[in-house]
Every structure is written in C-alpha cells, then in structure tokens.
C-alpha cells in the first residue's frame, strides 16, 4: 500500500508518497495523481519520492502514464528527491530525462511561489 500526503501551495501541489510504488498499488496511485491534476488551478504536481522504499517497472509505468496525462492537460508531474534505488530503476529502464527532477529542498523552494 502507499499513502499520499498533500501540501497545497496554490497552483502547485506537493504530494509525499510513502511505502512502495509497485504493481500492488500502481493503479491506485495513478488514479490519485490524475485526480490531483483534475483539481482546478493546479499547474504542477510535485511527487515526493524521498520516503519510497521500493519502486518497480509497474510503478514507473504509473508515473509515465500520469505524466503523459498531465502534459496533455498542459500540466507537469515533477519528481522530488527520488532515492538512489529509484534513480537506478529509472536509469535501468532508460527513463532518465523523461521526468523533471527536483534533487533537493533548494530545487523545491525555487519552484514554489513566495
């Protein structure tokens, strides 16, 4: 299971995911992300992966699907502080560069409105 905790910054939502992102919960997370993009006035969803302990190709597929949907709506899915293991999975799946990535809090603060 996974849990999304939301931090609302106006047009930017920061959603912190805890647990895992795998086949077990990929559909649930995708549905939740798409619901967030459907919120009025939202331009970006920043998905905080700092507490995601494991991610597989199904989890990546969910992020690709949510990102593609967001782009079709003129919005963005950004990944925030993915763990080294998550980065390794993305690199192995040849998805490096597909997602905008915020490496640290400095990157996040630069994105958020004052």
């Amino acid at each position: 299971m996974a849990h999304l905790e939301l931090d609302d910054h106006g047009n930017i939502l920061v959603a912190a995911l805890t647990g895992e992102l795998t086949l077990a919960n990929a559909t649930e997370v995708r549905t939740e992300l798409e619901r967030l993009f459907g919120r009025k006035g939202v331009s970006d969803v920043v998905l905080d992966l700092g507490a995601v302990s494991f991610m597989d190709s199904s989890g990546l597929g969910t992020l690709v699907a949510a990102s593609t949907k967001a782009r079709s709506m003129g919005r963005r899915l950004l990944l925030y502080r993915p763990t080294p293991e998550a980065v390794h999975t993305m690199e192995t799946a040849q998805l490096t560069g597909f997602f905008p990535i915020l490496d640290d809090e400095e990157d996040l603060l630069a994105l958020l409105p004052d």
């Binding site: 895992e20 795998t22 086949l23 077990a24 494991f54 597989d56 190709s57 199904s58 990546l60 597929g61 969910t62 690709v64 699907a65 593609t68 080294p84 293991e85 390794h88 999975t89 192995t92 799946a93 040849q94 998805l95 597909f98």
Partner: protein, 161 residues
C-alpha cells in the same frame, strides 16, 4: 551452494511481502543491505510478470522462487508458475540479453520489466516443462560485495532444501 525454496499464491496483494522475504535471505549474504536492491528488483519484476500474465484474469495459482546462493560467486533465482507460461511473455530462444531487446517507447506505460531483468542479470533463460514454466536469472556478485564476517543465516519461516 545454499539453496532455498519459497512458495506463495500469485496475487497482486501478496507478492511484495513474498519478494521481500526472498530479498532478506539474499541480503544476509551481502556486505551492505543496499546491495540487495538489484537482486530484489529482478526478483520483483519476474514475480510481477507471473502475477500479471501467468494465470487467466481473475484467477490465481502457485508462484515459486528457488534461490541458489554460491558465496563469493553469485546467485541464481528461478521463478516458476504453472499457468500460461512464456506464451504470455516470450523469451528469445537463446535467452535474454540487453542489446537484443527492442527499445521500449519512452511514453509506454508497460514493457520495461523484461528490459530491467535483461540489463541487471548476467544470464536469463526460460523453460517450460512438467515442473511448470521457469525463468532462470543468474547474477554474478563481485567479491567485495559479499559479507566478510562469519555468515549466520537465520532460517525462520523459510524452507531450506
């Protein structure tokens, strides 16, 4: 060589705790817990393929992982199902190798599991027979990644053969 066998029912809701158990067994041999990640990832991808493809929609069936650890050399992970087998997820006759796999389109939402397996394993072969459909994954592990202290493998809920 140390051999272990794990069995469960192939279900979306339960395969991850099952894979974590396999990973914990492998991690006990390694110098650092983080080194188990590629081993856990390929095991998870192979088991997820069974959950997604092996049995008809709405049905479940058995899933078995056999683990053979050769300390200071590597591991072999054999994932078996008794469903539709490789017909749902075909392998080239000679097994998998990263460069031989077609690229997955960047926007595709599936199809990356086998690529991850091919990239991280040294050899991947499949077989179908009376004892089910098995994907064999072999990974060499460098000398410095093995635990150097005396190995103490606790066998609790695991069945060691």
């Amino acid at each position: 060589m140390h051999s272990y066998e794990f069995t469960t029912t192939a279900q979306r809701e339960t395969y991850r705790p099952f894979v974590r158990g396999v990973a914990a067994t492998m991690a006990a041999y390694l110098a650092s817990p983080t080194l188990v990640h590629p081993l856990e990832l390929v095991t998870a991808e192979a088991c997820a393929n069974v959950v997604r493809h092996a049995y008809p929609e709405g049905q479940t069936g058995p899933l078995r992982v056999r683990l053979r650890v050769t300390p200071r050399v590597g591991v072999e992970i054999s994932v078996t199902d008794w469903g539709r087998g490789c017909a749902a997820c075909p392998l080239p006759p000679g097994g998998l190798a990263g460069p031989e796999l077609p690229d997955v389109p960047e926007g595709a939402t599936s199809g990356r599991g086998l690529r991850i397996i091919a990239c991280l394993c040294d050899a991947v072969t499949g077989e179908t027979g009376p004892d089910g459909n098995t994907l064999h994954l072999q990974l060499a592990i460098p000398e410095e990644q093995w635990r150097t202290s005396n190995l103490t493998i606790t066998e609790t809920s695991l069945s060691r053969r």
